[in-house]
Symmetry: C2
Subunit: 342 residues, 2 copies
């Protein structure tokens, strides 16, 4: 069996609680096929508060040499918003050129959504991960004065858009063959027009895949009123952030929402993380639901080529939710219940 | 009784069908107190297709001399996205310095929302209307080539933010005294930080008003899972656009969602419009619900100081929805039913 080196950045808050469960599941499900060597990285709020380090160059280099990254959650109320997010989480996504932020949404049997029936919701958001308003371009003049001006710049390139568009079309071919481009092209005419043109052009190479378009505001309505209309949602970095959290709420909570930050050309390792945050309000109590972290581990396996093993995790999680989903269980108990099904 | 001159821009699609209903309601409810003289402006898709005009300077000047504006909807699938939106609708909001985009959301008795009980949802979004990503700053180089780069620039000023923040605090004083600032300050650190600082500073002058903060992604979750937590939501132009459409879906459809584009210093007329669009799919069939247009007329009245009359419209609409809300009625029939209650 091949050996894989996995960087583990458990991070902050409940990230530290759910990540060990994901590792235990990885170890069990692949025992015969693969061996995972975990390299823990002490990154996040504690480290920053201790020695001021956010993501030192040599640690980033070490992470680059890994086969994949398992991430818990980043964020701490003691630290000013943006420092860890931009310095660590987004820094990783950008430095490792993880241009596909893949976020599946599914309404599981056993979860009561007020909005839909199980089976109604099964879509994937393909969110661009290395451009848009997340570039960190922008600035401020005359801070703290009545004449202050602050800007944020969204940078979008044909290079960056085309590669994620192609990824979405390839993905749609393996699914129900429908893409919905989400943007705000009636206001953001420069970026929106480029996205639409590239989707139209690449789409011609995929005659079997149909595509339509929604403004982000209309998309948030359909997400509530008719989520079954979506198969593959293709969108930019900020709109993807917003839509996937709304989608999480619609499928009964972000506790079931996994994600992959994928470098689809495999130059650098890809990173897998639950879409929930560090949840400081419930951290330390062992009550965080590790399901999203476990499903992120399944995405990691699929990325490394272990489709069957990933499928076994998905099936175990589905069965667990169907039977015990609404039960109040500790983080460890959910882990044991899922492990027992593998 | 005083005379008011109202510019009427019925616009496109169902805008043309719902606006006459709003005018009829205005006339009836204020018959003893005020006289409205309507000046129709032929602006929108038809005009643009006919003679290429979007918003000629002299018509804009004429609009500036009115007491208020009643707008239906702008947008037509025959016209490239952005042309009418930016050239007409946003042009008006910017040229008339309508810096408060006020969007109340309420779950009415008689509307079945899958997500909440009537009474649970009653909040107002105070959306900034003249800055942010809506400025039209941005551009593209090497269009249509693989080296294309497109940018969008969000411009935010202390001047523009402070005035809308003050408006929100004043509004909160008349309501449940709670403001939720929504932004994405962990990524958009320049603009987000400025918004937060100004809210904190102005908030000190309003010790009775509490305020908290949510990232836009988290706000879309609460909008679905716990909309009752909101009283006044304060946010920027783009996030306000997104959140208010989601809110519309949560209260049972944007058919009940009114809005005011308010120049709170009264240098220029304010503009009142349903938040729904021109809905080309149902236009021309007389099936559009005029309720949002009628509620927008009530907001117009309140802006002109006719609080009692505005209250009578709100009450008539509430009673209509409670009794007949779910019934399929023509646009005119809903109009007659509401008029009959006045
Ligand atoms: C923490 C934050 C920077 C991040 C984002 O906005 O991408 C998070 O919300 C997410 O969706 O992974
Ligand atoms: C038509 C469009 C430009 C407009 C906006 O984005 O403001 C609309 O969505 C709205 O919310 O009034």
């Amino acid at each position: 069996s091949t050996t894989y080196r996995i960087a583990v950045i458990a991070g902050d808050g409940i990230g530290k609680e759910v990540t060990p469960v994901a590792q235990a599941v990885l170890d069990k499900v692949c025992a015969d096929e693969a061996k995972f060597i975990y390299e823990p990285f002490d990154l996040g709020a504690e480290r920053y508060l201790r020695d001021g380090a956010i993501l030192p160059e040599d640690e980033l280099e070490r992470i680059k040499s890994m086969d994949a990254i398992l991430l818990g959650a980043i964020g701490d109320p003691r630290i000013k918003a943006g420092i860890l997010e931009r310095g660590l989480l987004l820094k990783l996504r950008f430095a490792l050129d993880q241009y596909v932020n893949l976020r599946p949404s599914k309404l599981y049997e056993g979860v009561t959504s007020p909005l839909a029936q199980p089976g109604d919701i099964d879509f994937v958001v393909v969110r661009e991960g290395t451009e848009g308003l997340y570039c960190g371009a922008g600035g401020a003049v005359r801070r703290n004065t009545p004449a202050e001006v602050a800007t944020e710049v969204s940078i979008n390139t044909a290079y960056g858009v085309e590669r994620v568009v192609r990824y979405a079309f390839d993905l749609a071919m393996k699914r129900r063959k429908h893409i919905t481009l989400v943007h705000k092209k009636n206001v953001l005419v420069n970026a929106g027009d480029m996205w639409q043109r590239i989707v139209d052009r690449v789409g011609e190479e995929y005659p079997e895949v149909s595509h339509d378009y929604l403004h982000i505001d209309a998309a948030t309505i359909f997400m509530v009123s008719k989520p079954s209309r979506f198969d593959v949602i293709l969108t930019d970095n900020l709109f993807g952030d917003i839509l996937t959290d709304e989608a999480g709420a619609v499928v009964g909570g972000v506790g079931y929402s996994a994600s992959g930050n994928i470098n689809a050309s495999n130059e650098y390792p890809s990173m897998f993380e639950p879409i929930h945050g560090s949840a400081p309000d419930i951290a330390g109590q062992s009550i965080a639901n590790p399901t999203a972290a476990v499903l992120s581990a399944a995405m990691l396996l699929r990325h490394l080529g272990f489709d069957a093993a990933a499928g076994r995790i998905d099936a175990a999680v589905e069965a667990d939710i169907a039977q015990l989903g609404p039960t109040q269980r500790s983080t460890e108990q959910v882990g044991r219940d899922i492990l027992a099904r593998l």
